[in-house]
């Protein structure tokens, strides 16, 4: 008698009586049996049980079909598991727990490796990397686009080369390998493709030539105060300002300040630099973080003092400041308050940046004096802003 079995999982063998019977696929039973033996289950017990499994499987394969035989095999394996455990306890010797632990550890590692490799395996190309709708290029030098091909799970397929092609808009220089040269301003639609997968994006060429220096224009950073946006002024070749910018910025000392995009968060008093890369050009922006103090009695470097400035007509306020270098901002709140006057006896000051900012070199016993004019309008109130930053 012969039967048909699935060729890959079972084979026909003789049973010694001239009949042809199905034999179980050797892989799984051998592995399970080997594992049990490795764990220390009684080899006589294991051999007898698996021998019966094989014999019964062959018998059922002949009479009930291979699928039914496989189901029986699996069910019987599960039903017999407690007996294997019992046999292991009976048969375990001195070092069996160690062997068990080592085997189980190996199994866990192997299972983890299988799961990880399964989870991280690469599939066929499914899509291109997601990119912004518009890409800004500020460099006048050639720039290489590197758009990745991904599989359906988002894994990057390293060896797949994307082709690029200008589609419409201004005639910008785009090579098939993705090299873009932005010597002039312009906008173009560019197509990126890999086989049948394609996407288009807007290429915005905005070449810049240099940065404008704005030393005094940086925002005041105070610990605990609001985050401040860095002021970056990039200029085109013709000297006009370019506002469409794309780049990277890092802060040198992250203990003093941190960056979120181009927004600076003050963390502790001190001075540091922010490096900004845009279009292949680096701008170095010094930033200083101050600690707010309530008085000028012991004004240390990186202390910031900003009293409430509200004076009645004819009233004067004054503050002694220690010897050192200061950056002072003094600004009336309104036109009506423009009569407010700041004098700095004992300090040498020069205007810096705008009309309201000064660098001052204070000697011992220097002081800041703000006076509201007296005269015709008694009871009139003057208000303004006074900010004192001790630099050194």
């Amino acid at each position: 008698m012969t039967i048909h079995v699935t060729p890959r999982r079972a084979a026909h063998v003789g049973d010694g009586t001239g009949n042809r019977v199905a034999r179980t696929g050797a892989e799984l039973p051998s592995m399970v049996e080997q594992l049990l033996l490795t764990l220390g289950v009684d080899p006589d017990f294991t051999g007898a049980v698996f021998g019966d499994f094989a014999e019964e499987y062959a018998h059922r394969g002949l009479h009930d079909g291979i699928s039914a035989a496989r189901r029986w095999y699996l069910r019987e394996l599960l039903r017999s598991t407690p007996h294997f455990v019992r046999s292991w306890f009976r048969h375990a010797r001195r070092y069996q727990p160690v062997r068990l632990a080592a085997t189980l550890s190996g199994l866990v590692v192997a299972a983890s490796a299988i799961v990880i490799s399964f989870a991280t395996r690469n599939g066929p190309p499914a899509r291109l990397e997601r990119i912004p709708d518009a890409i800004i290029v500020n460099s006048p030098e050639p720039v290489q686009f590197r758009l990745n091909v991904l599989d359906a799970a988002g894994h990057v397929l390293r060896d797949k080369r994307v082709r690029y092609q200008w589609e419409s808009g201004d005639r910008l220089n785009v090579s098939t390998t993705g090299v873009v040269t932005c010597t002039e301003r312009g906008d173009a639609l560019v197509r990126a493709s890999f086989a049948a997968i394609r996407t288009t994006f807007l290429l915005r060429c905005r070449p810049i030539d240099r940065f404008a220096k704005d030393w005094a224009g940086q925002p005041l950073l105070v610990v605990g105060g609001p985050d401040q946006a860095l002021r970056i002024q990039a200029l085109r070749v013709d000297g006009t300002r370019e506002t469409s910018l794309a780049g990277t910025a890092i802060v040198r000392d992250s203990d003093i300040a941190s960056l979120n995009g181009l927004s600076v968060h003050a963390k502790s008093p001190g001075g540091t630099m922010v490096y900004v890369w845009i279009g292949g050009i680096v701008d170095v922006i010094p930033i200083t973080v101050f600690k707010r103090v309530d008085n000028t009695n012991a004004l240390h470097p990186f202390d910031y003092f900003a009293p409430s400035l509200r004076l009645a007509s004819g009233q004067t306020s004054e503050w002694h400041i220690p010897a050192g270098k200061y950056f002072i901002s003094f600004r009336p709140d309104s036109i009506a308050s423009q009569a407010l006057m700041l004098s700095t006896p004992g300090a040498t000051c020069s205007q810096f940046g705008d009309a309201y900012s000064y660098f001052c070199d204070a000697s011992i016993d220097a002081k800041l004096v703000v006076t509201a004019p007296g005269g015709a309008s008694p009871g009139r109130e003057f208000s303004g802003y006074l900010g004192v930053q001790r630099r050194s």
Binding site: V13, G14, D15, G16, V21, R23, T24, A26, P29, D44, F45, G47, A48, V49, F50, G51, D52, F53, A54, E55, E56, A58, H59, E76, R79, S80, T81, P82, H83, F84, R86, S87
Partner: protein, 115 residues
């Protein structure tokens, strides 16, 4: 010294081994038990019981030559020992003693329920 007691599966297995004579090994014992009791014992349960009976000295076993249909493994044939035979007779006596005095009428299915 008291003799080790026999469980119900142990008793059934001893009787089956006795009945199968020279052909008593896992597969045949299991099939015979199924045919006679209707209970489908797992292969592991059968061998655990047989091993326990062997430990008690009621059975001995020997291995056959490797058999192709078993994937080249041997069959483990079991035989009743003298001790096993005595255990069976004891079990029979106890059972008979327990049954004595029980009349067929007492077990009739139409027997009225006690009030």
């Amino acid at each position: 010294m008291s003799k080790p007691a026999l469980g119900s599966l142990e008793l059934a297995a001893l009787l089956t081994v006795t009945r199968l004579c020279e052909n008593a090994y896992g597969v045949t014992i299991r099939r015979d038990l199924f045919d006679r009791t209707g209970r489908d014992y797992s292969v592991g349960a059968i061998y655990t019981t047989l091993q326990r009976l062997e430990d008690k000295g009621f059975l001995t076993s020997r291995s056959s030559e490797p058999v192709p249909v078993r994937g080249g493994r041997s069959r483990r044939y079991f035989r009743l020992t003298g001790e096993g035979a005595r255990a069976l007779r004891d079990a029979e006596r106890r059972t008979t003693s327990l049954w004595s005095g029980v009349l067929a009428g007492d077990l009739a299915s139409d027997r009225p329920e006690p009030a």
